[in-house]
């Protein structure tokens, strides 16, 4: 049974296989070439994986400092109503978010204690009547409609579910700002496992899929024919 190759080797018709000669020295160089190619492939792959998974996330975010440090834990001891003492719902049901300066001045008219941060707060903001330009870890893009009332009041969710144990913290973490979008890294997740969708806690990241995951589990309505998830317009009004 002749193969195509056999026929090809016999094209000269003189019974001499010219190709065979040249093939004698080639097998090693061919293997070398493939080896080198594989090596380069692996080098490229490894380098780009390192760049993509490790370097890029570092480059993408810049570290920013809050105007001054804040101790949630200390304040929690002093208030009666937990998080809602400062992060309250207004009378009309809307959520006030970060406290305005006016809420703080009741106690912080004068410097309390002797920390550097307290001094900054009173001197730079309270006495000058300037709102504190906090960098907000949980700020979402404007295209996302989010109602705290729907989640906290109607859905009876805990603050911790999304915000983690920030209320027990004694200081504020660095704010890692996305150089392209300006939003905090907390939305995407700070750790490698979060990037691999292997988050441990519900508050580890808060991208659209994380919202959708909970919505699927809790509401299970699947009102959107296209996505088989909740309708886009639940959040993207």
């Amino acid at each position: 049974m002749s193969t195509v190759d056999d026929n090809a080797h016999d094209v000269h018709g003189d019974g001499t296989d010219h190709e065979t000669e040249s093939h004698d020295s080639d097998p090693t160089s061919k293997d070398d070439g493939a080896g080198v190619a594989v090596l380069f492939f692996i080098i490229g792959l490894a380098a780009s994986l390192v760049i993509g998974w490790l370097v890029f996330p570092k480059l993408l975010y810049s570290k920013k400092q809050q105007p001054f440090d804040f101790n949630h834990s200390l304040h929690m001891e002093l208030v009666d109503d937990g998080c809602e003492s400062c992060h309250f719902f207004r009378q009309d049901g809307t959520y006030a978010g970060l406290p305005q300066l006016a809420q703080c001045t009741g106690c912080h008219e004068e410097v309390q204690g002797d920390t550097k941060d307290e001094a900054i707060f009173v001197e730079e903001y309270v006495s000058k009547n300037r709102e504190v330009p906090w960098l907000v870890y949980s700020r979402q893009p404007d295209c996302v409609f989010f109602s705290h009332a729907a989640h906290v009041k109607m859905g009876q969710m805990d603050c911790v579910t999304c915000h983690g144990h920030i209320g027990e913290s004694t200081g504020l973490p660095d704010y890692e700002e996305n150089r392209i979008t300006g939003y905090s890294r907390d939305i995407w997740g700070r750790n490698l496992e979060n990037m691999l969708f292997l988050k441990k806690n519900t508050w580890d990241r808060m991208k659209m899929d994380d919202c959708a995951e909970c919505h699927m589990k809790e509401t299970g309505r699947m009102t959107s024919v296209q996505t088989q998830k909740d309708g886009c317009f639940v959040c993207h009004k």
Binding site: L45, I51, G52, P57, L60, T181
Partner: protein, 721 residues
């Protein structure tokens, strides 16, 4: 190559491309020009609208400190939750890029910032100099109104300083007031009990186009539909009001008085008038009756008005036969006062059917009476100056009955009569745009050596001024807003600041008080208040607490004086108008083509510049790209060889403008109609340079009886361009 493939594979398997794609898409949402709604607490504050004299209450919605919406105030006696398009667009006026952000002085033709103290000191020095030279009467002020504390502070300043030249634009309300004074001896304003009328004869009033108090009129109009009251609209063009009326009578413009008297003829000749009223409570009825019967036979009136005699007869019978008929006049939004003859003829119809002071009729309303400051003590300079004739001739030899004749001022200045005007204050008005014959008005303004504008926005007059001392915008300041506009309840609104002033502006009331203080002596003594707010609080007295809480005060129990209690004339009776004054021929003769003006709720034609939201509502039958579109009957156009959409030049003796032609069967042949409110040269790119200002083409026509502007149209020619 292997490296490339490996790298590509690695990159693809890393989050890099996906994350960058995602982030870039989010980045596109954060471009600085993408509008992002402000975040913060939502609050609603009640205040009063000051964009027209309508007197609506508004509820201003803020998010944080940002005004996001202006709505009609629920429960307000004028608008009860309703609002017009201009009021709705008020946030755009507040945040307009054409706001004047600080006091400014024109130096060598360009604007420079100046401090408030320097500005006031400079004006005071000029005023002191003029007064010392015996020329205090050459200081004039044009204000938006003569009611309420701010206009009264102006007129008080001028009086005690020594100038009779405080002016404001006159409107149909002035024509009505004059007729009421002559017939009833009443010094006040008209009220129209339209909600209770069941037959409304409107001689050209833009009922749903901004006549009277616009939102109140929308509501009254709806009520008529619900209770089957009849509306007869008489005007040469199918306006929105005419289109929604039960009957539309196309009349030759300017002959409305003739029609009213023709209807009076029908009522008198067929004895349909209210005999108890004419017999017992009136004087001069017989002579008036004879004059009308001899001069205004329906056949004759049919000829002049173009309305068939039989229609006039049936309309006269229907009007007199209704239970609560009312006749009203004031063309369009009523910005032009109109002739005494016309207003008197329409008023006479009401008297004939006995609706004066009755349910569904015309009521004599008091002038707002809450400002009771002590009389000023004038020194000899002021006392002498106040004896001088006013620059505009109002109250003078020719026009003793008129109070303000602002439309005559440009002519007087341009003719160089008297000492002219050396200093002009312009507060809440934009005469360079709104005065009819605006080219002449601008020429006159240019002759005034020192003009100070108090405008919130850079309007045409502010551009011409030598100094601008910007007032707070109406959402940033306290001010009382006395409301008349044909209401049947005496009312005062209080505008309250809903946010801190955005810029370095100052309340005009505070500037007046500061100026008076700088002038010293009697002048300073006439202004004893610490500041404007103190003045306002003191003036409103017991009402202050109520007004700051409710933002309006209304007398729901007001009833006009009943006939048996006597009118305010010498005899205590209603005096029918002088037959001589009624029997005048129409004011201007018609040429082959006549230009008439029309009004719309889509455009503000007064001192407030139309905001961008409203410009969006202007149809392309009014404004096509940058071209003004004029409306004409196809028959008229055929004679002029014009086609739909063709370009033409519209000329009058006042000026000429390029326009586009739009055909409509809803306008009488021989007419060409143009909307008021366009053709601004000032303001932003949304308004400036669009269309034509009709005031450039139409000038004032002095009514021979009163001197008020009675122009309803002008002879024009239209040629193909």
């Amino acid at each position: 190559m292997a490296l490339g493939i490996g790298t590509t594979a690695g990159i693809t398997l890393s989050p890099l491309p996906w994350k960058i794609t995602d982030d870039l898409s989010i980045w596109t949402q954060n471009w600085p020009w993408t509008p992002v709604p402000a975040d913060g607490e939502a609050t609603d504050t009640n205040s009063a609208c000051m964009l027209c004299p309508g007197g609506c209450g508004v509820t201003v919605r803020k998010i944080g400190n940002r005004v996001v919406k202006v709505e009609g105030m629920k429960g307000h006696p004028v608008n009860d939750g309703g609002i017009c398009a201009l009021g709705l667009a008020a946030p755009q006026l507040l945040y307009s890029p054409t706001r004047v952000k600080s006091p400014m002085k024109k130096i060598n033709g360009s604007w420079r910032k100046i401090s408030w103290d320097d500005a006031i000191a400079e004006i005071a020095a000029k005023l002191i100099e003029l007064r010392a030279a015996g020329k205090s009467h050459t200081v004039a002020c044009i204000a938006e109104s003569d009611r309420g504390t701010v206009p009264l502070l102006w007129s008080r300043l001028l009086t005690v300083y020594g100038s009779p030249n405080f002016m404001r634009p006159a409107t149909m309300e002035d024509a009505y007031s004059l007729v009421m004074e002559k017939t009833q001896g009443h010094h006040g304003v008209p009220g129209f009990d339209l909600e209770n009328a069941d037959f409304v004869l409107s001689l050209g009033c833009g009922i749903i186009e901004g006549w009277g108090s616009p939102v109140r009129m929308f509501k009254a109009h709806s009520q008529w539909k619900n209770k089957h009251a009849k509306l007869v609209q008489v005007e040469p063009r199918l306006s929105n009001t005419a289109a929604k009326a039960d009957q539309w009578l196309a009349i030759k413009p300017g002959t409305e008085a003739q029609l009213a008297l023709g209807l009076a003829h029908v009522i008198l000749s067929e004895s349909l008038f209210h005999r108890p009223f004419t017999d017992n409570f009136s004087d001069g009825f017989e002579s008036c009756k004879q004059a009308i019967l001899s001069q205004f036979h329906p056949d004759r009136v049919a000829e002049s008005t173009g309305i068939p005699a039989e229609t006039i007869r049936s309309l006269g019978r229907a009007f007199a036969g209704a239970k609560h008929p009312i006749a009203i006049c004031g063309r369009g939004q009523g910005h032009v006062p109109g002739s005494f003859q016309e207003t008197a003829a329409v008023y006479l119809l009401n008297a004939l059917v006995g609706n004066i002071g009755q349910k569904g009729g015309v009521w004599a309303m008091p002038e707002p009476e809450y400002v009771n400051w002590p009389e000023v003590e004038m020194d000899s300079v002021a006392a002498n100056a106040m004896q001088q004739t006013r620059m505009d001739g109002a109250g003078g030899e020719h026009y003793p009955d008129a109070r303000y004749l602002l439309t005559r001022l440009p002519e007087m200045i341009n003719a160089g009569i008297g000492d002219g005007v050396q200093v002009l204050f312009i507060s809440g008005a934009n005469p360079a745009y709104t005065l009819p014959g605006s080219q002449a008005a601008r020429k006159a303004l240019a002759r005034i050596p020192f003009k100070v504008s108090f405008s919130t926005h850079m309007d045409e007059t502010a551009e011409m001024a030598d100094m601008i001392l910007p007032n707070h915008c109406f959402l940033e300041r306290y001010e009382d807003v006395p409301v008349t506009s044909g209401l049947t309840k005496p009312m005062v609104n209080l505008a309250v600041p809903v946010l801190q002033p955005l810029y370095d502006t100052k309340h005009v009331g505070d500037v007046i008080i500061a100026l008076a203080r700088s002038l010293g002596g009697n002048i300073a003594a006439a202004f004893p208040w610490k500041n404007y707010q103190a003045c306002l609080k003191k003036t409103l007295g017991d009402r202050w607490a109520h007004l700051t809480e409710e933002t309006y005060w209304v007398d729901n129990n007001y009833r006009p004086t009943q006939w048996q209690d006597g009118f305010e004339t010498a005899t205590g009776k209603f005096i029918f108008p002088d037959a001589k004054r009624l029997n005048r021929s129409p004011l201007a003769a018609q040429g082959d083509l006549t230009l008439i003006a029309c009004d719309s709720m889509c455009l503000s034609s007064g001192s407030v510049g139309t905001p961008p939201f409203l410009i969006k509502t202007v149809p392309d039958t009014v404004l096509k790209d940058l071209y003004m579109v004029v409306e004409m009957n196809p028959k008229t156009a055929a004679a002029l060889q014009l086609k739909e959409g063709s370009n033409a030049v519209l000329s009058t003796q006042r000026g000429a403008a390029r326009v586009k032609v739009h055909f409509s069967e809803g306008i009488m042949p021989g007419l060409v109609a143009m909307q008021r409110g366009l053709g601004h040269s000032a303001y932003d790119k949304y308004l400036a340079g669009k269309g034509v200002n009709i005031n450039e083409l139409m000038g004032p026509v002095d009514d021979p009886d009163s001197g008020y502007d009675a122009a309803w149209g002008i002879s024009a020619s239209l040629t193909k361009a």
